[in-house]
Symmetry: C2
Subunit: 211 residues, 2 copies
Amino acid sequence: MSIAVDISVSLDGFVAGPNQSEETPLGEGGEQLHEWAYPLRTFEEMHGRSGGKTGVDDDVLAEGYESVGAVVMGRNMFGGGSGDWDPAWKGWWGDDPPFGTPVFVLTHHPRESLEMKGGTTFQFVTEGPDAALEGALAAAGEKDVLVAGGAEAIQGCLATGRVDEIQLHVTPLLLGGGARLFEGVGSDIDLEQVRAIGSSAVSHLKYRVLK
Amino acid sequence: MSIAVDISVSLDGFVAGPNQSEETPLGEGGEQLHEWAYPLRTFEEMHGRSGGKTGVDDDVLAEGYESVGAVVMGRNMFGGGSGDWDPAWKGWWGDDPPFGTPVFVLTHHPRESLEMKGGTTFQFVTEGPDAALEGALAAAGEKDVLVAGGAEAIQGCLATGRVDEIQLHVTPLLLGGGARLFEGVGSDIDLEQVRAIGSSAVSHLKYRVLK
């Protein structure tokens, strides 16, 4: 029943590289932010495959994945460009997305919900982050809400004061520009460190938001 | 014989808070960046006292401290304002500074070296980061060179291509503004993660710079 931000970030604080476009949605170099997860067993499992590496990174990924009952994301993360919706666009993840839960997409453009295979339902929220979090909490039941990105969606959710936890996967990467995670967030959020663990690929830093 | 950047940084990437001045040299809230170190045994030892906490944070602090044979820092870190030197200013650290090694201060204004108690000698380098690193390497002998800050001095040293290692002590703190560690550093530096460890106070992230 908690709300957690969970995202991969470069060492210089970006969650996407410079020059984001429809062709390079994560910006230049941004794909590298997520490379730590690709070899892991839980990542394979999320995509319906078997095999993959175990270890501390996989433990962290599995822990997050198992507790999630609903997801909140921004329109850029869902994709499909800006403006009115192209009804043919159903996200980056194919017919059977790896979420398996309701996903609340923040947008200024209304759209009917999309029911996908495997339990993922995309719902489009035009009333802002507070409404998206409210809907996600109700949908998650006993489980937790994951705020998955991008930067703007996370900033909007942090501003509601409802986020309980922030987990950052800090990658050994300098992007030099792009979407900065904490842009405009200010200094009013007080954090308590929960843990810092990692491998040779990534650091997992977890914080509790004090209220 | 390696050159290592070692500095405390906020979770949003600042090594000093907003509105730095002679009265608040670390900017608003910036003092909190270093609070993790104050209770530790090695910190007490560096300041000629006994007692203090042991544990992972102290291990990391001790490891860095023991290996250092010379220090490079920027003029802001040494203090004393800008422009021509006031000969009465001898740094923030009193007669017996906690370095115990030669310290090379980057400045545009020449000044005679200052020999302090306990082995600290402040030398003032007007020829830029490369010359400061060269002098520090020679002075360090078999030991390592620590690039201690601030942001601008670190950026200058990174630009020389001579830095071997970066260790960041990431504190659970949002400063919202100030001196950004990686400002203008770009994306051309390739890093390899050495380790990620931490306590409930701070995360220690160490990287090797690939050449």
